[in-house]
Subunit: 342 residues, 2 copies
DNA sequence: CCGGCGCGTTGGAACGTTTCAAACCGTGGT
DNA sequence: ACCACGGTTTGAAACGTTCCAACGCGCCGG
């Protein structure tokens, strides 16, 4: 047990009877090395169990071959899918990914940003908590490319989003076409861009149909509990004012709402049709499978990572910040089935 | 724009008119530096916007202040909760966390392990895909502590698990106490330790009650689709052979089963009581809230990280590998409510 | 007046790579 | 015999830190 901790290139060089530089060449430009030497070095590497020290590589080369995704809430399947897309793109480019989870906490987000700056990551993908653009500006000021995911951050940042107004329109139009005229929008707080945009889209669609009405129930958060509460509020309305359909800003709300409706003995979609948003895995698994607006989550992540790589590569040269906007899609399931088709 | 990319300690030293070593001392042992010097250096740091280069620190100090959690499937909320626990513990210790997702793919797992070795992480937490103990042995042979999460890996590894046999017993006992005598176990493939252990527990409980019977329906996977399929199989049984209760190895199965039951017009728990496993968030949000066996996920992650830190600290000295086993808890909800209490 | 002590500070080696100019060596042309 | 040449190999500098031995210096006790 007298050997050193982990073997370094120096040890490999010694064992193979060549110089340090040659070992490096075998690793990085194998074609510059004669075939015999190469084999000898490779054998030495094998025998010693040598593993490259990425840390030292980074220090010397200046490239960290690492990027990071700071998600808002890993508990939400939406973000884990985005993260998967990011990782796929990164993997393809031979990069490692730091996955961080701010849990909607600005303090934690700052903690991670600090850490990532210190780690000298090549770039940061982030779904920021608040309008943290000043903080992000500072990060970028230090030379780290930043791409904003699922949020718009103005023309100074690359960003990848899904058109939430179009999504809201899609959902509301679907309900209108099914004949509903009194529709509830459930979501909030409306200070959240997504919630507001989806409402805007729904309003637009409803305004286009004479006699149609949109009732807004603002919630305090986008979770299951709030969905349940909204269900109670709806059930409490007198029959004449009660909507026949609900569009929820998010599947969690929709699931909570659905649960409460079923519990109260109401029929979905008979008494209330429901459209959710995000099309999380459990939307299709619900008692009454949820109609939902689906976002290309995987693609979102992958594209964001690709934009980042592009920005990192063309850093300095005229890199144009791009705002990529994807279109959502409606996935129709039983929760909005026409009575006739049942 | 003649300045160098990012300022280093050398720049700080120059600006503050002190030596490099002093800057280092201000950063690492501030009490060894006189108050005036300290302030001067701090001012310089502020003005230059200096950010520590963690990469260089690691290289020199030999400590990476980073650990990794290689999860099996980030899409499963179980693992994201565990990951959160890991991150909390790591954060408390001032460590960064690489979150990786093998997606049950041995190849990807190996890719990440290679990467992590190269990154010289302090330690690795992993829920391995197969019996990858030889691979893990190799990793540890390189001096990297490994803690296995949610899997048993024998006495040579630290591990943190939840007692699945006890969990199965808990679930089955609950159903037996509710008066059920014909109970289905739904789960598989039984080559998966968890699925097998939970079955063992259920068998044990059922064996203790005369006249009780356990029917095993092995599934090909632990997901919603398989749950649905199991639902069809159950519904297809002649009334006399049809169980009155089902214990699913996992909530996804249970949700699929529940969905199919509701769809077929059967009542839960009236026609079939259902117990799931994992108590994921959506268990409580289901149409009929699911009774489920809950595991201390957050604690699992936190404890695993703490074990890892311990192993990393006491490396070399007599570190005892510990196998921590937590106890599951039954969370009773409507899916197993007694008829009387409805 | 000198030796020793302690506090602050300094300079330089070391960590494990990459990179690049220079050295080496066998060959073929003149 | 000499030189230029291409393909290999070498040696040393550099990346940004941490760590440590050594240093300067004011002060106290003798």
């Amino acid at each position: 047990m007298a050997g050193p901790g982990t073997p370094s290139m120096k040890d490999v060089a010694a064992r193979a009877g060549v110089s340090l530089g040659t070992v490096s060449n075998v690793l990085n430009k194998p074609d510059r090395v004669s075939v015999q030497t190469r084999d000898r070095v490779r054998a030495a590497i094998e025998q010693l169990g040598f593993v490259r020290n990425e840390t030292a590589r980074q220090l010397r080369s200046g490239h960290s071959r690492t990027l990071a995704y700071v998600a808002l809430d890993s508990g939400n399947p939406f973000f884990t899918d985005v993260a998967e897309g990011v990782q796929d793109a990164a993997e393809a480019a031979g990069l490692a990914v730091f996955l961080c989870n701010s849990r909607e906490d600005g303090g934690r987000q700052d903690f991670y940003l600090d850490m990532l700056e210190q780690q000298r990551v090549e770039g940061i993908l982030i779904t920021p908590t608040d309008n943290a653009t000043d903080r992000l500006d500072r990060v970028r000021g230090r030379g780290i490319p930043v791409v904003v995911v699922d949020r718009d951050a103005g023309p100074d940042f690359c960003s990848v989003t899904v058109d939430d107004v179009a999504g809201g329109e899609l959902a509301a139009t679907h309900l209108l076409e099914a004949g509903h005229r009194k529709i509830a929008y459930i979501g909030g707080p409306l200070t959240i861009g997504q919630a507001a945009d989806r409402l805007t889209g729904a309003r637009k669609a409803v305004a286009a149909v004479p006699g149609a009405e949109l009732i807004v129930l603002e919630t305090a958060a986008l979770n299951v509990a709030e969905g349940r509460r909204a269900g109670e509020r709806l059930a409490g309305l007198p029959g004449s004012r009660r909507p026949t359909a609900a569009f929820c800003a998010n599947d969690l709300l929709a699931l909570g709402l659905l649960q409460r409706m079923v519990r109260l003995g109401l029929d979905v979609p008979g008494d209330l049709a429901i459209v959710g948003y995000d099309d999380i895995e459990f939307a299709g698994a619900a008692a009454v499978p949820l109609t939902s607006v689906s976002q290309p989550r995987h693609l979102l992540g992958r594209t964001a990572a690709e934009l980042l790589l592009d920005e990192a590569a063309g850093s300095g040269d005229g890199h144009e910040h791009r705002q990529v906007v994807f279109s959502p899609e409606l996935v129709v399931r039983a929760s909005t089935a026409l009575r006739a088709t049942l």
